[in-house]
């Protein structure tokens, strides 16, 4: 197995002098190529903070992050932009699609910079859109799509540059169970087809149970981990037990 992302003694402090507090501390993490990792934890435990650091959106106070062997914490802005362009995809809770462009243009946007020609872009978009069941939606505008379709379009856009890692912060936060299931099944199907690593933040045990592994954050540090045995139902049960043991979280989809 090949390590795609590793995090060493990561620390993030917020606030100015006097009122500093560590939103994240002593985090060590290794993620294998193609792994589907879920990050769980109570509200305010630092999930978004961790994801933002790993995905180059924010900068760590101390510690190191390596993506594909390259140290993020030592990179210049230009190199970070290049890394984002070639290695990283992003998905957010609120889709972040541009309202005045068709789904097709939205998805193709990240390719706008790569010198790929029009035909190649078209072919790439059509192939991925088919994988996410969006073929019939390509020429519509975001407001004409359901939440589930919009989120799948956002994931398609994140994948269009064939990134090594996709970061998703509560991607199912605005979706119902059915749309969530469709999306998560697609995310799970990425590994065999494209070898993409997915790191997803969620506070929902049902969503987390689709992953290969769950890391639990508590008070800004990693508290526990659980590995899937293959059966989603068993995994779901184990996650619920872990959450109960950690205390404070109840599942919304029981």
């Amino acid at each position: 197995m090949e390590t795609i992302l590793s995090v060493r003694s990561l620390k993030k402090e917020y606030g100015s002098r006097g009122t500093r507090f560590a939103a994240l501390h002593d985090v060590d993490l290794e993620v294998q190529k193609g792994e589907f990792l879920a990050v769980m934890g109570p509200s305010g435990s630092g999930k978004t903070t961790l994801l933002n650091l790993m995905s180059t959106i924010d900068q760590a106070t101390a510690g190191e992050i390596y993506i594909d062997g390259r140290n993020l914490t030592r990179m210049k802005n230009g190199d970070l932009a290049k890394l984002r362009r070639n290695k990283i995809g992003f998905v957010f809770q609120d889709f972040n699609l541009l309202d005045n462009m068709t789904i097709m243009d939205n998805i193709a946007l990240p390719l706008a910079l790569n010198k790929a020609n029009h035909k190649e872009i078209l072919a790439a978009v059509e192939e991925l859109a088919a994988f996410f069941g969006l073929t019939d939606q390509l020429h519509k505008y975001p407001y004409q799509l359901s939440g589930g379709q919009k989120q799948r379009a956002a994931v398609t856009r994140a994948l269009i540059t064939k990134p090594s890692v996709v970061f998703a912060d509560e991607p199912t936060g605005a979706l119902d169970t059915k749309a969530s299931t469709e999306l998560l099944d697609c995310l799970r199907g990425l590994k065999p087809k494209y070898g993409t690593t997915v790191i997803m933040v969620t506070h929902d045990a049902f969503c987390a149970s689709f992953s290969d592994r769950v890391m639990f954050l508590k008070d800004g540090t990693l508290h526990a981990r659980l590995d899937s045995s293959g059966s989603r139902k068993d995994f779901y049960q184990k996650i619920l037990e872990m959450l109960a043991a950690m205390g404070g979280i109840t599942n919304e989809r029981l």
Partner: protein, 168 residues
């Protein structure tokens, strides 16, 4: 796709958002042109009385128009920028460098500026005769106004707005 074609694409998909903005600018350019046309109109210039007050009135009005316009453009540019932070964020996440994002937006506003300038000149020229006739009537001057397109007026409008667009 390079920055230029991306900007062109954005401009096309954003035309609706900009319709109002472009319309106001077009009108402003047209009005400004008409005053310039008055200032540079050879017929009007020959009338001695006009020199006394109409010319200075035209000057004052054009300055006022210009000030209002600059304020409007400055205000709406920052308004659009706020509206488009989402867009900028998406580009940044797609790994487009800040310099390139800036370039895309700059090219896009040049498109907008050129559209407004061309439209404004067109309308200004179309209505200039009407405008001058109305003015002659109002000021009870007895001049027949021929339809002319003073190139000096066109040039002045282009230079003025060229500077404004570049500055914003």
């Amino acid at each position: 796709m390079n920055a230029f074609s991306l900007a062109l694409k954005l401009f096309r998909s954003n035309v609706k958002t900009y319709t109002f903005y472009i319309a106001v600018m077009t009108v402003a350019v047209a009005v400004y042109y008409d005053f310039m046309a008055l200032k540079h109109n050879p017929e009007v210039l020959q009338t001695r009385e006009v020199l006394l007050y109409a010319k200075s009135a035209a000057q004052i009005t054009s300055v006022v128009t210009l000030i209002v316009l600059v304020f409007f453009m400055w205000y709406s540019s920052s308004f659009f920028l706020k509206q488009r932070t989402k867009e900028i964020g998406i580009y940044a996440l797609a790994g487009i460098s800040n310099a390139k994002i800036g370039l895309v937006f700059a090219v896009e506003s040049i498109f907008i500026g050129l559209t407004a300038l061309a439209g404004g000149l067109l309308f200004g020229i179309l209505f200039s005769k009407l405008f001058l006739m109305a003015l002659a009537k109002c000021t009870l001057l007895d001049v027949t106004v021929p339809f002319t397109v003073p190139t000096s007026a066109v040039t002045e409008v282009m230079i003025t707005f060229g500077i404004i667009f570049l500055a914003l």
